[in-house]
């Protein structure tokens, strides 16, 4: 019931979980994945039934220790089911690679399948309770001695065929998604770690060719060496999805029919007409669209204030959800495209601007450079270009997009 992380493994995603299945695809493409093994979902179901771990866990731990040789022998023990349940189950990091330390960690991850929170999540998302999770035991990579990031093979905002993403030097991957740190644009990697950069670009090309779609990878580098920790195909929306589909069809990678099928109908995001508008600052557009509202500096104020509001925070956490729900848009001074504010805004379909770094949020006012904006000041944000503008500027709608037009012709 245990499978090595190796290119020859043929078990399905139902057994390996989606994450490990993706890792094996990466290995088959000859890409660097930290060594490890996967305990399949049948072992989880057996454990939950009779409390026994698979008999081959001991040998698997010994083989991995031998494969690691002189490398530091500590592993991560992560859940990963056929259906994604992000953050629901336990992950144990920095586990010393001995059976006596790995076995309890695996048990903890299996047992977390039945926590009330995980049950509630499955109810909310229509996931069967008897599915079980796989567990990936994998050598730790230390981003503290390098960095971590998320890389897209194309720009997810525009679909443009240039690598896009964010990197956090000197940190592990967990810090990239927390939104508490300001990440650096991916291209900085080119100057600071040219070998890692070159290898990453080659990896993105290979991954994209395999999935025949734009992809993203989570990566970590340690002492100049690149490791890929996760791969996700697709996931682009709107204009960006249209451009990717059209360009892939033009390159003969997919058919025109497939291109049309991949891009659901959407309305194009409006933009601020910045000519004549007073631009207060710029951040990164994290969810397209224009939103106008009064500045609210706390989630509570956002709920309390009348009329449309823009929630302005250093960063957001799940405790701010009531404020996000009450706001027309969200603006944060830290975080990146993978931060909590950006993810929730996209899920709620609200315009969002993140990483507006010269913005400071203080009690009942916001500072943008030298300007002080009291709570209640009317501002407008553009979730495509990242502009933050005073008042309510004119908005441009439906610029003609050649990619969308071609896709519509193909679909007719």
């Amino acid at each position: 019931m245990i499978h090595p992380l190796a290119p020859g493994v043929t078990a399905s995603a139902d057994v390996l979980g989606a994450k490990a299945h993706g890792l094996i695809s990466l290995l088959r493409l000859g890409l660097p994945v930290p060594p490890g093994f996967v305990i399949g979902t049948p072992a989880c179901r057996a454990y939950l039934r009779d409390g026994r771990l698979p008999a081959d866990l001991g040998p698997a731990v010994r083989e991995l220790a031998a494969a690691l040789g002189d490398r530091p022998r500590s592993v991560s023990v992560r859940s990963g089911g056929p259906v994604s349940m992000p953050g629901m189950m336990d992950t144990v990091l920095d586990v010393p690679l001995t059976l006596s330390r790995v076995a309890p960690a695996v048990e903890a991850v299996f047992s977390s399948w039945h926590t009330p929170r995980a049950r509630t999540y499955r109810e909310l998302h229509g996931i069967p309770h008897d599915l079980g999770t796989a567990v990936t035991v994998q050598a730790m990579v230390f981003g503290e001695r390098g960095g971590s990031g998320v890389a897209f093979s194309r720009d997810p905002n525009t679909g443009e065929p240039v690598p896009f993403g964010e990197v956090l030097f000197g940190h592990r991957g967990d810090d990239v998604v927390s939104g508490r740190s300001v990440t650096t644009p991916l291209r900085e990697l080119a100057g600071r770690e040219p070998a890692v950069w070159a290898e990453l670009l080659a990896a993105l090309d290979r991954v994209e060719a395999h999935y025949r779609d734009a992809c993203s990878v989570e990566f970590t580098f340690e002492s100049g060496r690149l490791w890929l920790l996760q791969v996700r195909p697709g996931g682009f929306v709107g204009r960006a999805a249209a451009r990717v589909a059209v360009e892939l069809a033009d390159a003969g990678v997919i058919s025109r029919r497939e291109a049309v099928r991949r891009v659901p109908a959407f309305t194009e995001a409006p933009r601020i007409d910045t000519a004549g508008a007073e631009v207060l600052t710029r951040g990164l557009g994290a969810c397209p669209g224009v939103a106008t509202g009064r500045v609210a500096t706390t989630a509570d104020a956002a709920v309390r204030m009348d009329g449309p509001v823009i929630l302005v925070r250093p960063h957001t956490s799940p405790l701010d959800l009531h404020g996000l729900a009450a706001s027309a848009g969200v603006l944060t001074s830290t975080g990146g495209p993978a931060s909590h504010a950006a993810i929730v805004a996209r899920a709620m379909g609200k315009p969002a601007v993140v990483a507006a770094t010269d913005l400071t949020v203080e009690a009942s006012h916001v500072r943008a450079g030298d300007r002080v904006l009291p709570e209640g000041t009317l501002i407008t944000i553009d979730g495509t270009g990242g502009e933050v503008v005073l008042g309510s500027p004119p908005v441009l709608t439906n610029e003609p997009d050649p990619y969308v037009r071609r896709l519509l012709e193909w679909g007719a």
Binding site: L124, T298, R304, P318, L319, L321, H322, S364, E375
Partner: protein, 181 residues
């Protein structure tokens, strides 16, 4: 002990208006207002005027509240800490429920009913240790009943909603145990 009730309720709400403090404490608005004025004279709270104004604590008010809750919790710290741990297990689950409701408008009554049963048990223990917390049990119970009766705004979209009351309970537990956010 009205002093502590109003001062502390305001602290857990951040900045707000008389009506909301009254709803949180269960005291009449007139009592809350005269209490807030006394506290303002003592330099413990301050009022900002304007459309988005409201009452909030001064630094001195925060220090006074810290001292009051610390002396109150002294004898029951172990019991309150145990309940706080129970709260921390429940907290992310409630946020999942609220997020699912806010982003996908799925039917959450079934999971909320199950959740509320477990939350209420923790709140019963907490109220037994510190009776002040019984107010949260009442408010959450009310919000739950409204949701169950089909008034779904009482889940997240209302100032006395389950989520907002839960958020204040979180603030209160942190303040009571002197844990920085």
């Amino acid at each position: 002990m009205t002093d502590l009730l109003v001062l502390h309720a305001l602290r857990c709400m951040g900045s707000t208006v008389v009506g909301r403090v009254a709803a949180a404490t269960g005291l009449p608005e007139s009592t809350v207002e005269s209490e807030l004025i006394d506290l303002a004279v003592a330099g413990l709270v301050t009022h900002t005027s304007g459309d988005f104004g409201g009452w909030s604590l001064t630094e001195a008010g925060k220090a006074e509240d810290d001292a009051l809750v610390a002396s109150e919790v002294d004898d029951v710290r172990a019991a309150v800490t145990r309940c706080y741990k129970g709260f921390l297990v429940l907290n992310p689950e409630l946020l999942d429920i609220c997020a699912a409701w806010q982003t996908r408008f799925v039917d959450v009554l079934g999971v909320l009913t199950d959740f509320h049963g477990r939350a209420d048990a923790v709140l019963a223990d907490l109220s037994a240790a510190l009776p002040r917390f019984a107010r949260y049990r009442t408010r959450l119970g009310y919000a739950f009943d409204r949701v169950a009766a089909g008034h779904t705004a009482y889940l997240t979209d209302n100032l006395e909603s389950y989520h907002v009351v839960w958020f204040q309970l979180h603030e209160d537990l942190l303040a009571t145990l002197g844990i920085p956010r």
